[in-house]
Each structure stands twice: as structure tokens, then as C-alpha cells.
């Protein structure tokens, strides 16, 4: 079975305040990076997944995130992106 490398990003929902992101954005603007409009902090995970296809790998990571509560749908947004695929099962990319 091929292995896919998937990036999973968990951030607070847009409606939920993000003090870490807000503080970083504020302090960076003070440093002169005035072009920063907003910055959201979150957690990211790189997961190597055995799956029949890339679509299936993404689906499995979404399912994993929801069931395990690594992502809490009440307060979080979840983004899942394919980073690398290799049909021989060897993980490449970065």
C-alpha cells in the first residue's frame, strides 16, 4: 500500500480569539513588518498515512483528527493538505 505524507493544521476558528497569533502579529508590526494583516497561530502535524489513494489518505487524516479530538470541531478549523505521494510506498518530499 502506498504511503502519503499529509499536513494537518489545527487553528482556532475565525470567530474564536487567538491571543498567541494576535500578540505575534502586534509585536511583529511593531518591529516594522507593517504589511501583516493578520496572523493565526495553531498546531501542525505531518502524518505519513498508508492509503489506497491520495484522496483516501486525506479522508483518513480528517477522520483521525475528528475522532481523536486532535481537532475539536467546536472551536477549531482543520486544514488537511497532501505534501507528498509516492506509489512505491516510499515517503519523499518536504
Amino acid at each position: 500500500m502506498p504511503v502519503y505524507r499529509v499536513l494537518m493544521v489545527v487553528t482556532n476558528k475565525e470567530a474564536a480569539r487567538d491571543p498567541e497569533g494576535e500578540t505575534l502579529a502586534h509585536e511583529l508590526r511593531k518591529q516594522g513588518y507593517s504589511y501583516i494583516v493578520s496572523l493565526r497561530a495553531g498546531k501542525s502535524y505531518i502524518v505519513d498515512i498508508e492509503a489506497a489513494s491520495a484522496e483516501k489518505a486525506i479522508l483518513l487524516v480528517k477522520e483521525l483528527a475528528s475522532r481523536s479530538r486532535l481537532y475539536n470541531p467546536v472551536v477549531h478549523d482543520l486544514r488537511v493538505l497532501l505534501l507528498a505521494e509516492n506509489s512505491r510506498g516510499k515517503v519523499s518530499g518536504d
Binding site: P19, E20, T23, L24, E27, L28, K30, Q31, A41
Partner: protein
């Protein structure tokens, strides 16, 4: 004592400076720091800016770091304790990086340390390989540095029993001349015998006795 939002060890550090070193000490908000006013500068422990980004990162962007750099260039002793050490490392004033503890946990415990090649204002009364005990309390204390030989040109402090996965058991590192010292253990929590639990001694006194001696008689 330089205070950032989230610094929380400044009172006891100032107390130890007064009581053990017999020196005057003040807590100074980071925007108010003017290095010329002070004989020595301590960045105490805590959680500056909530450890956002990384522990010590945002504090390392503040103007106080320019003051501290200038102070060091002019021979003022600078000490960073725990989060203060993280600030000095993030600012690039001390080499290396502090990563999350290898066991993934916040660790709060007393332990024994060995002082190596002591010199400079913060370790002037220490002797080579002297053993002292102090507590640690941190989540990001796993010291890493690319060039160990570089670090070992100055004095350093090592754990007898490595709690967090630090390279070469390093608990504290210093500039070559010892003028700048950063360490994860808390000397201010080991400054009086009544702070030490059974089996440990007030090893932090060494730092405060050293700076007292150094500022009065040189180093």
C-alpha cells in the same frame, strides 16, 4: 531585574540579590531599561509574552535587548535565569537553542549540578567541578548547540543527572569571559537553607555571593 509581561520570578530574585548579595536591586519594566543606570542586569524566570511563538522569542524582539547588548559591550554582567536564559538564547546573545524537554513534559524538581571552569562575575567564588543543588521548572529546557567546543571556551554548568535531554548535560552556558551567564535552574529558589528540601542545599547562593564579591572587588 528586567520585567516583561509574563515574567514572574522577579520578586524572589530581587529578594535574593538584596539578602544574599547585600546589593540594592530594582525591578525595571523592559521599556524603561537604561543599561547605564545599573551595575548588573538579571532577566528573571517566568513566561514572558506567554511563551508565544517560542519561550523567550517575543522578549528577544524588544528594545531592552539593544540595551542589554550595549551593556554587555561595556562590561556589565548579565544573568538570564530559566526564561531569561531562553530570552538570551533567542536574542543570539548566548549560542544554541532551547527545545521542548525530551520527555514531552514540564519538569519541576531539585537536582545536582557541576560548575565547570568557573570565571567571570557570576561564578567568581565557585571552584572547579563544585557541586551545587538547585531546582528546575521548565518545559523548554533541552539545550542544543552545534559547536560544543565553542560553548566550552567559557564556563558552563552541567546536570549530574540529565532531566531534559540537553546536549552534553548542559544546564547553563556562558560567554567566553563569563560576563553573560544563562542557566535553566533557579538560583533564587535555592538562595536560603529553608528553601531546600532534605538532601539538597541552597546552591543558588553561589551566584549571588559571586556577583556581590565581583561588583565590590572585581573579577
Amino acid at each position: 531585574m528586567v520585567k516583561y509581561p509574563g515574567t514572574n520570578c522577579e520578586e524572589e530574585t530581587a529578594f535574593a540579590v538584596k539578602q544574599v548579595a547585600g546589593l540594592e536591586s530594582s525591578i525595571v519594566w523592559h521599556t524603561e531599561l537604561h543599561w547605564r543606570l545599573w551595575d548588573a542586569i538579571i532577566i528573571p524566570g517566568g513566561f514572558s509574552y506567554g511563551d508565544y511563538g517560542r519561550a523567550g522569542l517575543i522578549a528577544s524582539w524588544t528594545k531592552s535587548i539593544d540595551e542589554i547588548r550595549e551593556a554587555i559591550d561595556n562590561g556589565t554582567p548579565v544573568l538570564g535565569i530559566c526564561n531569561g536564559f531562553q530570552v538570551l538564547v533567542e536574542a543570539g546573545i548566548l549560542p544554541g537553542a532551547l527545545l521542548a524537554n525530551s520527555n514531552g513534559s514540564f519538569i519541576a524538581r531539585w537536582l545536582w549540578l557541576r560548575i565547570r571552569r568557573p570565571r567571570g562575575p557570576w561564578l567568581s567564588v565557585a571552584t572547579e567541578s563544585q557541586l551545587v543543588s538547585m531546582p528546575i521548572a521548565h518545559a523548554e529546557g533541552r539545550y542544543y548547540v552545534n559547536n560544543l567546543d565553542e560553548v566550552r571556551q567559557g564556563p558552563w554548568i552541567e546536570y549530574l543527572e540529565n532531566p531534559n535531554g540537553s546536549i552534553a548535560n548542559l544546564a547553563g552556558v556562558s560567554s567566553h569571559d563569563g560576563l553573560v551567564l544563562g542557566l535553566m535552574p533557579h538560583p533564587e529558589r535555592a538562595a536560603f537553607p529553608w528553601q531546600a528540601p532534605p538532601g539538597y542545599t541552597a546552591g543558588g547562593r553561589l551566584i549571588f555571593e559571586s556577583i556581590s564579591q565581583s561588583l565590590r572587588n572585581g573579577w
